[in-house]
Symmetry: C2
Subunit: 180 residues, 2 copies
Amino acid sequence: MDVKTVCLGMLTDGPASGYDLKKEFESSFAHFFAAGYGSIYPALSWLSEHDLVTCEEIPQDGKPDRKVYCITEAGRQFLLKALKNTQPCHKVRSEFLATMCFSHLMDAEDVQAVLDHRLADIHRYQELFRNIEQDYMSEWPEGARFVLGFGKAVAAAMETYINENRHTLAADPAARIAAG
Amino acid sequence: MDVKTVCLGMLTDGPASGYDLKKEFESSFAHFFAAGYGSIYPALSWLSEHDLVTCEEIPQDGKPDRKVYCITEAGRQFLLKALKNTQPCHKVRSEFLATMCFSHLMDAEDVQAVLDHRLADIHRYQELFRNIEQDYMSEWPEGARFVLGFGKAVAAAMETYINENRHTLAADPAARIAAG
DNA sequence: ATCCCCATGTAATTTGTTACATGATTGA
DNA sequence: TCAATCATGTAACAAATTACATGGGGAT
């Protein structure tokens, strides 16, 4: 499932512009699916070319025309077919963990700074989760609630793990000198 | 931190071939950093061109020459500089969670199949973790042990969450018909 | 016989990121 | 006056995936 398909899925919730979808990528999808304008706008163009969405241009003064996309029946069928894949992947690419693998080559302060930065990042997600819960969640289907809960559970597990294990990483100076 | 840098880091542990590094990507790095031959071999060529590693070709009969790479002092400095970045990212791209967001459009059986597949995947990682712990872990530096523990903690949290919440996704047939 | 392990690499393709380009309105 | 929000898009670039290409040795 690529950006195109996710955009299509978001449009099942009602018509929206590329700008609107970006906001959704930044809120409820932020913890598991990133996409910038450079992916979203081309995705919407592609969907429109293939008649999976229709596009209504709404003139605005001062701003570019607002283009509101709406899923078509063909788009809905396309999405349903994509959702038939019962082996969707879940990929992690962590420069954080890669860095930690080599923490014995680093200064102890830098290692702790990396951990602090990661915790700050986790806290940002947790705040995002709280905001989402307040604002929208009551109207959501179960699936979306499941996904939010998943994010919260994983974030909590990471936070706990880092707090309980960071003390093991008080780097041994001898090892650093030998490595350097 | 890209594949190049991770390969360089792996070589701090001792000389190795591209084939050897691939095995490491498939075992201890599998849960957070994927890389195939199509990334590893070009990475090693690049590192060699830039004198960050040396390459010793060991002739073998029947097989292609085994190329054993060894990190240089310049390579070590390059790595140390890369590790100075105290804001390494941790990215998730989950087609699984994207699919679950739209579970209300899916057949209930398919939703459960998706969850079963994800659990099976998690169990594969957990088995991998057990094998790694048996075979190598005692000799590892703290950082590598921290990373393995992190993977275990996250996998356990995901497993628990899925098991405890999958019952909420007994799709409502009325919603599916309305959507279709 | 057949499959897996060893062992290397290239080329085409796909995919996404980043930087660039524009510019009015609204609220502090 | 300054920053943020609204609103679109392209082009260059970076990076990784996938398919292709080769082939002997050892275990079952």
